[in-house]
């Protein structure tokens, strides 16, 4: 007899993992807000607004990393264009944030500033409805999903894989970047969207709004992690892994890999879109450089550093790389690229399983000694 879904979801993580998740949510939802709001700023325990923004931003990246792990670690498909889905989600939500500025922009017009600047008289058709939160929330999910579905359907149907797939996804995000850099596209050209004032009527920079966004991201990250670990342990996930390891054999048994790959590809894109939508109000800007091939490749390194095919590894990787980045770019701005480059090399050469693999290896050695 099949166990009920709830049981299966609960049993997809072990006790320790649930404990860790609970601890994480307690810190994110209770401890951090308390330390931020009640502890005076000069205290050593005060959590600054900068730290909240930084961690919130990295949690968004971690969400993208988990999405990347689903497709790369479990599906064996390396995407070099995940920045596109992230940016599409970000742009979709950015449209809403631009409309929320209302008449408070530099030109005191109902239209977003860049449209006034381009001398447009009314909002273009694809902006219609962008003042409604519900519609935009739908766009955040639907736009990356549709783009991913159309692209993925054609790519997987003709069995494009491996390097070819990677390079084509890179071309896709590159083409999109060029498109969004144009003013005529209607998304603010190379400046993108910025100068946001409000979200759902609340001031976007107020401490409370920040904390709500921060908590929301934490909850979403935890939910995604639970969902993903259920997904990969389900029958679907096991077939996916089988396709990764021996696609031809899976086909001979009678499965059509197209729909498995396409499903995980679209899920991954949607997760990226949601991450992008949470990223934009916290960071306060979205522009086409998010779609640059370099950004998408960096996502792969988060996953590789943490350890792919582990779900928790990509989160660790995203945190490790991005914390290192914000430390390096402040302390040794000259050396950040050297460090990042060496990280790519060292991880691929010495740590094929990432940090999680290294940890497991150390544990195994300890166990063998005991």
């Amino acid at each position: 007899m099949r166990k009920p879904l709830t049981i299966r979801i609960i049993s997809s993580l072990d006790g320790k993992a649930w404990l860790a998740l609970g601890l994480f949510l307690a810190i994110a939802l209770v401890v951090v807000p308390l330390l931020n709001l009640t502890v005076p700023e000069d205290s050593a325990f005060h959590v600054s607004a900068y730290a909240i923004t930084l961690i919130g931003k990295i949690m968004c990246y971690a969400l993208v990393a988990v999405a990347m792990d689903l497709i790369w670690g479990y599906g064996g498909i390396l995407s070099l264009g995940h920045g596109l889905f992230f940016a599409l989600g970000g742009y979709a939500f950015g449209m809403y944030l631009m409309r929320q500025i209302g008449r408070d922009g530099s030109y005191q017009s109902e239209l977003p500033d860049f449209m006034v600047f381009l001398d447009w008289k009314e909002i273009p058709w694809f902006w219609v409805g962008s003042d409604s939160f519900g519609w935009v929330a739908l766009l955040v999910v639907a736009v990356p999903a549709i783009v991913a579905f159309v692209f993925g359907y054609f790519a997987f149907r003709s069995r494009i894989k491996g390097v070819y797939f990677s390079i084509i996804t890179q071309a896709l995000t590159y083409a999109a970047m060029l498109l969004f850099f144009r003013n005529e596209t209607g998304f603010g050209g190379n400046n993108g969207f910025t100068d946001f004032k409000r979200v759902l009527g609340a001031t976007i920079t107020s401490p409370e709004t920040r904390l709500v966004l921060f908590g929301l991201t934490a909850v979403l990250l935890a939910t995604t992690l639970i969902f993903a670990s259920w997904l990969v342990k389900s029958k679907f996930g096991r077939i996916l892994t089988a396709i990764r390891d021996a696609e031809s054999r899976v086909m001979f048994i009678g499965y059509n890999p197209l729909w498995y790959k396409l499903t995980i590809w679209v899920i991954s894109a949607i997760l990226c879109g949601i991450a992008g939508a949470l990223y934009v109000p916290q960071v306060g800007i979205i522009n086409p450089s998010e779609m640059s091939p370099a950004n998408s490749i960096e996502i792969a390194i988060w996953v590789a550093v943490g350890g792919r095919g582990t779900l928790i590894g990509p989160i660790i990787g995203a945190f490790a790389v991005n914390l290192a980045k914000s430390w390096f770019t402040v302390s040794f701005p000259e050396y950040w690229l050297f460090f990042l480059g060496l990280l790519f090399i060292v991880v691929t050469l010495m740590l094929p399983q990432g940090l999680v693999g290294l940890w497991k290896k150390l544990l195994a050695k300890k166990g063998a000694l005991a």
Partner: protein, 525 residues
């Protein structure tokens, strides 16, 4: 040549009655009424007499005066009679005739037109070129005379055009018809716009001339369109050559060896900086031979990039053979390190690499079709590099070994091919060829730490479309993409063209996942 010219001048000077200028005409230069002055200036211009030039020049320089009834030229303490040029006594109180802006303009035109009779061909050429844009109907007789005297074919052609243009305003329909017929032979946009008014009833009353003008405009339009398309095809060809130079090295490393070298763009950068280094060296030590820095940079760039390639292969890539996606990540790391190294060594700003003088200018095939030398040389250079690669891969022992290792590594090893060394050499070769591409790029675009990133996507597209491991595929793909994108640019703009090309490639890969030419080698499943 000089002799002939002198003789020629003598004849030219003596033909229209060598007798001194008409005193009445010269006197009219100092008339009260501006229109009278203009008439006098135009008449004097018609004579094309050196004495007339002298008088008009004097008037333009405000040294023409009226002393009683005599017109004199006063230069410093000396005075000359304007009509005969004879030295005379300095008059007591000379009056200066009023020279307003209208007169000044007229004088400038007249002097420019008179330059058509200058003994120096270069001056005549410049004058004839200037007349192409500003020619008035009154000049027709003058131009006819200049035409009769002209011996240089190039100047003569220009004068014929100017003469025909001047004749378009002739009262005689037959003269206009001849002029239109003469102009129909040209392919210049300016002449087209001169003929355009004649195609309408308001601009031309004579039917015959008007029909001729319509036909002439059509003929010019056709030639302009042909020139435009030839120009577009050529810029496509040169873009294709650049893409090919970027992709050739990649065709070896990716195609033959199965390595995704994301640092390939940075190897181009190494080649470009090597070119910059040679330029600096030549400026400092051999300033006389500065134009030779570019040929000298070719081997330097090749070996500099090859050396970087050897280091990359020995330290990183050799551990990753057969793990294609891992080579992608590791070489991306290498590319970041190389970019930052370039920033530290040469600064974050772009450096300036100048074209040698023999690369500036171009071949003018038609007035609106100029093929710049630097593009022509790059097309030739791409051909040279292509030949080099083909010979290396097909005619040398190294090439044979590389192909052997590609097709069956184990078997090649068994028969004694040093596979590890061949890998290093093949990678170095691919890197060196990227360096050569960098030399070419330094001549047409910015040289800076980020330059490689711009080419990596394009280079991969060429290799993917062409089919991995196929030189012929890379050539067809590079030229096809180059010409296709230039044609698209013509009607859609650069960015839209680029996007359409990328989308077209994505669709193309659906149909032919293995590229134009299917691959044989390590990749086959």
């Amino acid at each position: 040549m000089t002799k002939i010219l002198l003789l020629f001048l003598l004849i030219a000077g003596s033909l229209p009655a060598r007798a001194a200028l008409d005193p009445a005409q010269v006197r009219q230069l100092a008339a009260e009424d501006s229109s009278d002055k203009v008439a006098a200036i135009r008449q004097l211009t018609q004579t094309a007499d050196p004495d007339a030039v002298r008088v008009l020049k004097a008037m333009a320089e405000d040294s023409l005066f009226l002393a009683g009834n005599q017109v004199v030229i006063i230069a410093g303490e000396q005075a000359f009679d304007a009509t005969s040029g004879a030295a005379i006594k300095l008059p007591a109180n000379p009056e200066s005739p009023t020279v307003n802006n209208r007169i000044r303009g007229e004088l400038a035109n007249a002097l420019a037109a008179l330059k058509l009779f200058d003994p120096d061909p270069a001056v005549r050429l410049a004058s004839a070129q200037k007349l192409q844009s500003s020619v008035s109907p009154e000049m027709a007789p003058l131009l006819a005379r200049a035409l009769a005297h002209e011996s240089d074919a190039g100047i003569k052609a220009l004068l014929t055009l100017a003469h025909a243009q001047a004749n378009l305003g002739n009262a005689d329909p037959a003269a206009r018809l001849a002029a239109v017929k003469a102009l129909a032979e040209t392919s210049s946009p300016t002449i087209r716009s001169v003929l355009q008014p004649l195609t309408e009833k308001a601009g031309e009353s004579d039917d015959k001339v008007r029909y001729e003008a319509i036909a002439a405009v059509k003929a010019i339009d056709n030639r302009l369109a042909i020139a435009e398309n030839v120009g577009r095809a050529f810029s496509g060809l040169s873009l294709g050559s650049i893409l090919l130079l970027g992709a050739l090295g990649l065709a070896i490393t990716y195609g033959v060896m199965g390595i995704i070298n994301m640092a390939h763009g940075e190897l181009l950068m190494v080649g470009a900086y090597a070119t910059y280094g040679m330029q600096t060296l030549f400026r400092a030590y051999f300033p006389a031979a500065i134009d030779w820095y570019l040929p000298a940079a070719i081997p330097v760039a090749f070996f500099a990039a090859a050396l970087v390639g050897v280091v990359m292969e020995r330290t990183v890539i050799r551990w990753l053979y057969g793990r294609t996606l891992e080579t992608l990540l590791a070489t991306w790391g290498l590319s970041l390190v190389l970019i930052q190294a370039a920033r530290v060594l040469f600064g974050a700003q772009n450096v300036e690499v100048a074209n040698p003088s023999w690369m500036s200018g171009g071949i003018e095939l038609l007035p609106n079709l100029i093929l710049p030398w630097n593009r022509i040389i790059i097309v030739g250079f791409a051909l040279f590099v292509l030949t080099l690669v083909w010979v290396l891969m097909n005619k040398t022992r190294l090439g044979m070994f590389v192909r052997a290792v590609t097709q069956n590594r184990a078997m090649a090893g068994c028969v004694g091919v040093p596979t590890a060394r061949i890998d290093t050499l093949a990678f170095a070769l691919g890197a060196g060829i990227a360096g050569l591409g960098g030399v070419a790029l330094s001549q047409i675009s910015n040289v800076g730490p980020d330059m490689g990133q711009g080419y990596i996507v394009d280079s991969f597209m060429v290799v993917v479309v062409g089919g991995v491991g196929q030189l012929a595929g890379a050539v067809w793909a590079a030229l096809g993409l180059g010409i296709f994108s230039k044609l698209l640019e013509g009607w859609a703009g650069a960015v839209i063209a680029k996007i359409s090309i990328l989308v077209a490639i994505i669709i193309f890969i659906q149909k032919r996942p293995q590229g134009i030419f299917a691959l044989k080698g390590r990749f086959v499943e």
